[in-house]
């Protein structure tokens, strides 16, 4: 057999039927469902008098619209409430392998709860009507976001007609420095290849720095593959993966666990496998990252400066830079560490897991939020993450520092609930997109790691976490 990449192996093991032009009908093992992108799919199924092919592959939750406080009062926005209740009704009617509705103790962001429950396994194909489905590639799964028509297609047929992607290897070797996280690696890669750099590709992340990441770090990295344009990102499973999965509710157990692990160990790119594109970074060269613009590729290291459009020759690029700086309210050449912030958001499918909250709490501990910061909010990724953090006393650390401790959900990553930026407000955010209006119309988002967001909340401006965190009063 010719040598294969991890992607090739995942693809080949799910081909139902080869189609013309290099397409194939690909079988889907896990279908994650949330309230925003599914109602029209269930309706379409109904209108065509079709029934789900294999409903026991569905794991569903409500996350985008759910409020992050006053849960006893329900969902106040009637349109949001209708969308969540529509999901409730669809699951009641069609069924699911598992459903974690609003206020369930296991409810949370769909990309946090899948892995947390062991519902994402190596070797699977995983889809969801959500672009950050790439997150699940951290387990050595082929995981990618789909549109609502494809949600309906998977519900009805358990398959998708797909075009085979090109294969990209992103290799990061070396040791990450103190204060440098998976989020910084992700942003550094996007800064290097651009937000369209991975278009048409599936990215495999490899190298000693990637091997050294925890599962949560790998999830953060694969989560951001879509921000590099790649529908899927993945890391080959290893002992770190198996240790994470063992004993989780939906993971296999007993003899089946042993058989699964034996199979999962085959899920690695062959030593002589060929990639269409290879990108290499040195871990030692990666510093904490801060985005300054309106696209994740508009990023620099914390010791950098806002770029100067006057230095750009290409008129299209110069124009987009000028527009981004005008939107962000930033002057050219401003040092990143002189950018003052109004709000802090720690959360999202990128950075809301327990290690993220620990990293933020370690920075915040014994300090106080800068008076100039109007709101610093911590939104855990799921009910289990929230309870774990509370058991460790992290909530008390955040509260003592003046940070708000909220209920789980997508929250201010995309501001479909009540959590949002007001026009002109500037936010240090651990989320994944700094697009215009993403966190609220007119809001200005800077993407950073949890430690960097926490530090900005203390100092009132961006600071280099590698050099310690000054209090705002001493700054």
């Amino acid at each position: 057999m010719p040598s294969q990449t991890l992607y090739d192996k995942l693809w080949a093991s799910h081909v139902v039927r080869e189609e013309a032009g290099g397409n194939a009908l690909i079988y889907i093992d896990r279908h994650l469902v949330h309230e925003v992108t599914s109602p029209q799919a269930f309706e379409g199924l109904d209108l065509a008098h079709r029934t789900p092919w294999r409903i026991d592959t569905v794991v569903a939750t409500a996350d985008h619209n759910t409020p992050t406080r006053d849960w006893d009062q329900g969902i106040r926005d009637p349109i949001s409430r209708q969308q969540v209740e529509t999901l409730d009704a669809n699951i009641r009617r069609f069924g699911a392998r598992a459903y974690f509705p609003f206020r369930d103790e296991r409810q949370g962001i769909v990309h946090v709860i899948g892995p947390e429950q062991g519902a994402t396994l190596p070797g699977m194909t995983v889809v969801c009507g959500d672009s950050h489905t790439s997150t699940h590639g951290a387990f050595g799964a082929l995981a990618f976001g789909i549109g609502t028509s494809e949600v309906e297609h998977v519900l009805a047929t358990q398959c998708l007609n797909l075009k085979r992607a090109k294969r990209m290897l992103v290799r990061v070797d070396g040791a990450l420095g103190h204060g440098v996280t998976a989020k910084d690696v992700a942003l550094a890669i996007i800064g290097h290849i651009g937000t369209a750099g991975g278009t048409g590709h599936a990215i495999e992340f490899a190298g000693s720095a990637i091997r050294g990441l925890s599962m949560e770090g790998r999830m953060t990295l694969c989560n951001m593959a879509i921000e590099a344009g790649a529908r899927a990102g993945m890391v080959a499973p290893d002992d770190t993966t198996f240790a994470y999965l063992k004993g989780r509710p939906f993971a296999p157990s007993g003899a089946q666990w042993d058989a699964a692990v034996a199979f999962w160990r085959t899920l690695a790119s062959d030593a002589d496998a060929v990639f269409d594109r290879v990108v290499e970074l040195r871990a030692e060269d990666i510093a904490p990252q801060v985005t300054w613009g309106t696209s994740p590729e508009m990023v620099d290291t914390v010791d950098g400066r806002v770029p100067d459009p006057a230095a750009i020759a290409d008129p299209v690029r110069r124009g987009s830079l000028e527009r981004a700086l005008a939107y962000m309210g930033l002057a050219p050449n401003t040092p990143i560490t002189e950018i003052a912030i109004d709000k802090v958001f720690i959360g999202s499918c990128t950075n809301s897991r327990i290690e993220d909250l620990r990293a933020a709490a370690a920075v915040v501990k014994g300090r106080t939020k800068a008076a100039s910061v109007k709101l610093a909010m911590v939104v855990p990724g799921s009910g289990p993450v929230k309870r774990q953090a509370e058991a460790e006393g992290l909530d008390a650390i955040f509260r003592a520092a003046g940070f708000e401790w909220r209920e789980p959900g997508c929250s201010m990553c995309l501001a479909m609930n009540d959590d949002r930026l007001e026009p002109g407000e500037r936010c240090a955010s651990t989320s994944n997109r700094n697009f215009e209006g993403r966190q609220g119309a007119g809001g200005r988002t800077h993407l950073v790691s949890p430690a960097m967001a926490a530090a900005a909340g203390i100092a009132g401006r961006f600071v280099d976490v590698r050099r310690g965190v000054p209090d705002a009063s001493a700054a």
Binding site: E43, D130, M416
Partner: protein
Amino acid sequence: MRKFTVLDGLVAPLDRANVDTDAIIPKQFLKSIKRSGFGPNLFDEWRYLDHGEPGMDNAARPLAPDFVLNQPRYRGAEILLARENFGCGSSREHAPWALEDFGFRALIAPSYADIFHGNCFKNGLLPVVLPAAVVDTLFAETLATPGYRLTVDLAAQTVVTPSGARHAFEVDPFRKHNLLEGLDEIGLTLRHADAIRAFEAKHRAAQPWLFTTGSAA
């Protein structure tokens, strides 16, 4: 699905790179549980001077006069000319739904984000890819020529300009066929139900842990 064969349409130029799906249709409109009615909120934050929310009377809202789709010369446009990486960001199919509901039938750009690109084909909206230099020329001609139209022929895979210049484009043969015929893709896949069942049997034998059912609670 609506067929796409040949379109002779007015062109509107949107001269920005990396237009994301949050810009195409902001999140507050994603709360709808319907597939239709998104057109009035296409590019909402750029198109109106006030902040839009679901349920507003959009006809009464103040328009941003400089935004390209508000200019009278582009009224009725069916082809959107755009820059690279159009449709990046989220998987929301509300983006092509909004473009289609507004009246667009085809897009022309040097590149698209993958998920958006696939979503367009499911909604009778043809995303044509042309080289950046050709797109540059089309931008210049559109801006210089009021009433500028292009003919997009999917069967022939060409875009023809008023001066007769023909630009060939590539398109996936499966998607092309479905769009030309207006086919229901789910129906097509269900024709292979036996193959899906045969695959499932093989897959279950190889990875039985993927087929466990019942409560894990």
